[in-house]
Amino acid sequence: MIAEIGAFAAVLALMLSLMQGAMGLAASKRDSRVQATAAIAQSAAALVLFAFVCLIALFVRSDFTVATVAANSHVDKPLIYKIAGAWGNHEGSMLLWSLVSALFGAIYASARGKQGLGLWSRAVGVQGLVTAGALIYTLFLSNPFARLDPAPMQGSGLNPLLQDPALAAHPPMLYLGYVGMSIPFSLAIAALIQGNADQAWARALRPWTLVAWICLTLGIALGSYWAYYELGWGGWWFWDPVENASFMPWLVAAALVHSSIVTERRGSLASWTILLSIMGFGLALLGTFLVRSGVLTSVHAFAVDPQRGIAVLVLLGVAMGAGFGLYAWRAPKLAQPSGFAAVSRESMLVWNNFGLAVAAGVVLIGTIYPLIVEAAGGGLISVGPPFFNMTVAPLLAALFLVLPLGPMLTWRIGDARAALLRLAPAAALALLTLIIALASTGWRAVPAIGLAVGVWLIGGGLVYLWTRMQRGEGPPLAKLAILPLAVWSMTLAHVGAGVLTIGAVAETGFRSEQAVALAPGEGVAFAGRRVTLLEVGELDGPNYTATRANFRIDSAGGAQTVSAERRFYPTAPTPTTEVGILSGLDGDLYIALGEPVRNGGGAWAVRLYHNPLVHFIFLGALMMALGGALSLLALARRSRSAT
């Protein structure tokens, strides 16, 4: 019964979304119509939310008469993973997609800003159509409420690799990011219909680009962190197509976060901001397509179904066809006010967008190129980490080289000499890092340059903070306290990018790994430590059994113990690893337990990794997300003080 009620709610929501589309696009100025449009958007969201709660209830009750539940849940699963199971599968995740789209639409519809009634109404309308598209796809091609007859006694369980807190939170976060890009898309389409993209329009756009970017940042970081400690091979990023699928919209969202500042503050780049909004949503849809269609072979793609892939592609085609078509037709008519000089804040933000957009383009081509070659009958080829490391990394390094200059320049016309002089201490620090890194690593240029770029970003961020402080009066702490939130947010995000760069470069350039066979009591020297296997024992978990090995790590700082596990889930064919991680200031010692060595006299296969500064990667991502959140807070404060 719950399943039917849920499906019914979703169908009702679909009808309301279509109505929202029609009413919104009609853009009536009559007060009653305006209020009705907002109310319809809110009701649609409430209904999808209700349908989603129904699905969660089905998972909690382990109702195996529902096909999705039977295929993805299990009676013995801990409650939290029963709940997470609702979105840890194809059908449920598409309902989640619809839910986020409807919720964002309702929130946008409820808070009407100063962007003008016509723009607001049309954006609500386009968002309604986006939600309707997602709901049509969900209900007709991947209905999470479909019944199964006969119902099995037991479910087939969630993939044990996915039974993890980080991964339970990863998809919703990523979807908030992906679908967050739908509001900028709706606003862009509305602006094109309206023939008007002014500063008030950009003001309405900014919080949504920030929300999307923050959620993508956190979602990607969670996924990367999960891969790091769960997959057991010591890596955190593999340029896997599924990772790229979330990285592309991230790059475009980052560009949009910056270009929309220019449009809001100066009215410039409106046309480019619109184009980015359309492309960002296109890449978010493409990301959904890549992940959900199984078109690319990948370690992360757990859902495979070509027919559904084609349907997502059709939705993508409709959205992008309408978007780019409207853009080609209407964008030339948009006004282009207020110019700026070659050296100015705007100009630097244009270069920022240049770097990020080209990087997104390169990732896109690298990701889909094997598909194109295969479709053209050229056989199978692989495009992997070497390609992306050789192309995207230098591009981002170049972008980061000019980044600290941006905040130091004024709008419209800047003084490059003065900015560079102020940045001299940061440059000196970066140069010093370069020399020390070169000398201490046997003249390995690439990681040394990478570290220097990271230090340059951090130094540049601190110089900017210092410069802004000088404008205040009183003791240093008071000066810091009165700095605008926007200054903090920018500094935090840019310093975070530097911290992430240092972590990524150190981990990639200086990690060490070793495969060894250890019997209890035996030890091995590794990365300046001694790793000793103490004992190996069996234990029972809630829905698995495990082999646990305890290790003692002796280093200059004393002895510590850490344990690593192999878990056997009766529902899964292969065991999973729970790695042992000993975090220190200089990075992680990372231990993955293998199997007993045949004829090895009680020895176990063990893989050891030392990942220097790997926590900088996740810390940096967190700082960037926090910077984005502060910016969001600054916007909220500004709009509250304005009303």
Binding site: W233, P241, A341, E346, V350, G361, G379, P386, I413, V597
Partner: protein, 131 residues
Amino acid sequence: MSFVAALVAALAPAVLADPAQEARAQALEREIRCVQCENEPIAQSTAEIAADMRRLVRERVAAGDSDAEIRAYFRQRYGDFVLFRPPWDARTWLLWSAPFLLLAAGLAVVLALRRRQGEGAAPLTPEEGER
């Protein structure tokens, strides 16, 4: 079972004595694709075939082959699919040129924009100097 085979194989030629050779072997193992698994390099795969491929890499490195020779060897033996670093040929020239083409296209857009924006750049008013 597979991990034991992988481990025994990985341990059999063991760690290469020369640290430079060991580093090269590890780097190559990260860019050669396991032919059985889904999108994994042989360095991280636990499949038996990946262990065999790792042993091959180490044999070739120990025998003094260059990185290019080892890549060519694997390509000839398992096909193009095995290389995460696709070679330059009739099918991939567009891939390898793409970053440069995109850079050029982006540069053209920025310069066109510059020309348009530069016209309107009048001197600053004092209040605009405020950041």
